[in-house]
């Protein structure tokens, strides 16, 4: 018997540049607890899941985040059906 009802949400996670190389994929769909409502918490969740994520987010302060293709901070609220992207500082131009 569980003492609470856990609600699940889905997100598309995308990775670019060396973050993608270390994670080993460019995108994935994940089902997570609705408690995970910021990029900060999402990173915490991922690094517990697998060594690859731990390595990719080793210097987490460097990693940038986008929510539905817009830059956000790691404390911005994220929600069901969001597309969340993690990538290093850009180097185009």
């Amino acid at each position: 018997m569980v003492s609470f009802i856990e609600k699940f949400i889905n997100m598309i996670i995308r990775y670019f540049s060396w973050v993608k190389d270390i994670v080993g994929k460019s995108e994935e769909i994940i089902s997570i607890s609705s408690d995970i409502d910021t990029p900060e918490k999402l990173i915490d969740h991922l690094i517990k899941k697998d060594e690859k994520y731990k390595k990719a987010f080793d210097k987490r302060n460097v990693i940038k985040v986008a929510q539905n293709k817009i830059y956000i901070s790691k404390s911005t609220k994220i929600k069901n059906d969001d597309e969340i992207a993690f990538f290093p500082p850009v180097t185009g131009g």
């Binding site: 995308r14 670019f16 540049s17 060396w18 190389d21 986008a66 293709k69 817009i70 830059y71 992207a85 990538f87 290093p88 500082p89 850009v90 180097t91 185009g92 131009g93």
Partner: protein, 131 residues
């Protein structure tokens, strides 16, 4: 297109693939990855900001993706205006923001290795002149 609306000045910037990296190692090729749609949105935002900030006529921005070779063009920014200082400033502003906000990543390919380019700290410094 850049010569409409009583234009007196056009400033063009062209970024090209260098032949050597910072450590003077020969670059064979360079692959530009990007984040589809987010990149376009960011470029549009930057162009709109420049248009608000300066009295300019037209802005044209082209950024290539995929595999490129030394001396090839990577990015083109063209700005036209009535007076030249606005065109110089807007073009330089657009380049500075492209370099720090537009979602592109460069992978440099050498004889035996490949290496993701790390963002130069100077790029963040460069933005200070516009605030």
């Amino acid at each position: 297109m850049l010569s409409t609306n009583n234009t007196g000045a056009i400033v063009n910037f062209l970024g090209t693939v260098r032949e050597k990296d910072k450590k003077n190692k020969k670059i064979l090729s360079m692959t530009l990855e990007h984040y589809p749609l987010m990149t376009e949105n960011e470029i549009l935002k930057i162009a709109e900001q420049a248009t608000k900030k300066w009295d300019i006529n037209c802005v044209s921005i082209i950024h290539r993706i995929g595999k490129l070779y030394p001396k090839e063009k990577i990015v083109y920014v063209g700005v036209s205006s009535k007076h030249r200082q606005n065109a110089f400033d807007a073009c330089s502003f657009i380049m500075d923001y492209l370099k720090s906000n537009a979602t592109f990543w460069k992978l440099e390919e050498f004889e035996h290795t490949k290496k993701w380019v790390i963002q130069d700290k100077k790029e963040i410094e460069a933005l200070k002149k516009w605030s």
